[in-house]
Symmetry: C2
């Protein structure tokens, strides 16, 4: 009788499922087409966001909405190929099942690429070692039809060689204040970051600018790209990048390049 | 007086503009995202087609709709990176102005890449030397978000090496009846075509199959791709492609791969 009772209890409400010690931390890697989103971060209900859509799927799968922490926000229109986020759950679903359950409940413009059970104190934002952002420019005379939501259409001639040379001035640890969005709220934090690598390539009119850094200031990539375009088009002379960096003033740099050309490519831990 | 009269007449209605001898033949190269089109060919008014949208732009620019002849039709959902079409016009607009006028009047999912004045009897369909179609498969476990309208999502393992070997059997002049759509209307024409080249590549989970031929039967590329997938996944054994080709029967080949993975890459003259 005692055994039977215990067994029944076990099936009905496995006590460790609600135990904090059974909580697992899940690391998600995800891809999204940012075109129809007001960015990553959940906002008022009328605005469609990536986080908001994932919470709806969480509610359906887990019956609740565990807090989802992203590696960082992405702006309206910005895409992600390898965004990373974590959440804690007491669900016993395998990582593989979490991927398929989420993909079955998410809209077509979000896809969960991978889920992994990680150490309990893994933190998608604080544990970041580096991030790689990729910016795509279509440099030809006629506007894009197929890639129209995934590149910045720039129809004027560009000196790619000069852009590559000037970009080198950004590599290393620098105060990137000149490339920070002119948002007074953010002015007080440190603006020193380390760019590990910048790779600029061209293929069939598509110019990609990949930047790896230990962290990015708000709109930093788009401001760097806007400045590189002014250099490449001859509006700014050779040697400008080093001078702009030294000025530590947003007004020294070029315009912010449009959001849809930007993609969060990878987050490294 | 006579001179003045003649000059006035010249400005008001330049006689050669309406003269058949002044008719120019314009070759257009265009790109489109086939997602929201019922294919290339104009149909009933309720169906949005590429040709239909270009005719609307023609009406605005030229005040009439010169006949637009494509290199061939593309089906609903099929994309084009280098579709070619021609039309005849008595307009004096330069080729460059025709590109910008068309792009200003066309929706975002069609772009005119180039316009050229060509010899009067150039024919976009009859003068084709070869066409290159490209098919994209995304071979990974999770569905695509960013490229969802431009690839066939295939989540099962594929033997790419075997697919490449088997594809070789298709190169050369053959009767491709086995890969023709099972449409009785088309059964009477010759089904002999020459495949000049097949190139299969893989990059980051994306498998592209490029096929160049002097002509294609209806749904030929999609039927070849469907068959290659059955070979790659192990449903059909090594040596199948040669046997299927010899059978000259549509039932011998694999399923038709979905339209959205297909793209008309280039038309050669």
């Amino acid at each position: 009788m005692e055994i039977e009772g215990a067994a029944t209890l076990w099936v009905a409400a496995p006590s460790h499922y609600n135990n904090r010690n059974f909580m697992r931390t899940i690391k998600l890697t995800l891809e999204y087409d940012g075109t129809d989103f007001h960015g990553w971060q959940i906002q008022e209900k009328s605005k469609r966001t990536v986080q908001g859509e994932i919470y709806k799927a969480f509610q359906k799968i887990f019956g609740k909405k565990p807090c989802l922490v992203g590696s960082g926000r992405t702006d309206s229109g910005v895409h992600a190929q390898g965004q990373v986020a974590h959440f804690k759950t007491d669900s016993s679903l395998s990582a593989e099942k979490i991927v398929s359950a989420l993909n079955a409940n998410l809209p077509h413009d979000i896809s969960i690429i991978d889920a992994k059970v990680v150490r309990k104190n893994f933190h998608a934002q604080f544990d970041v070692k580096s991030k790689i952002y990729s910016y795509t420019i279509l440099n030809r005379k006629s506007r894009p039809a197929i890639h129209r939501n995934f590149c910045y259409f720039y129809p004027y001639p560009l000196n790619l060689k000069l852009m590559k040379t000037e970009a080198r001035a950004l590599v290393g640890q620098h105060d990137f204040r000149s490339f920070q969005a002119s948002d007074p709220q953010r002015q007080k934090q440190s603006t020193v970051r380390t760019i590990k690598k910048i790779v600029i390539n061209e293929d069939g009119g598509f110019i990609t600018i990949d930047i790896e850094a230990n962290g990015f200031l708000y709109k930093m990539v788009r401001n760097i790209v806007g400045t590189l375009l002014e250099i490449g088009s001859g509006k700014l002379p050779k040697g400008s990048m080093r001078k702009i960096l030294a000025r530590k003033n947003r007004l020294a740099a070029g315009k912010t390049a449009v959001a849809k050309g930007l993609r969060l490519k990878e987050v490294r831990y």
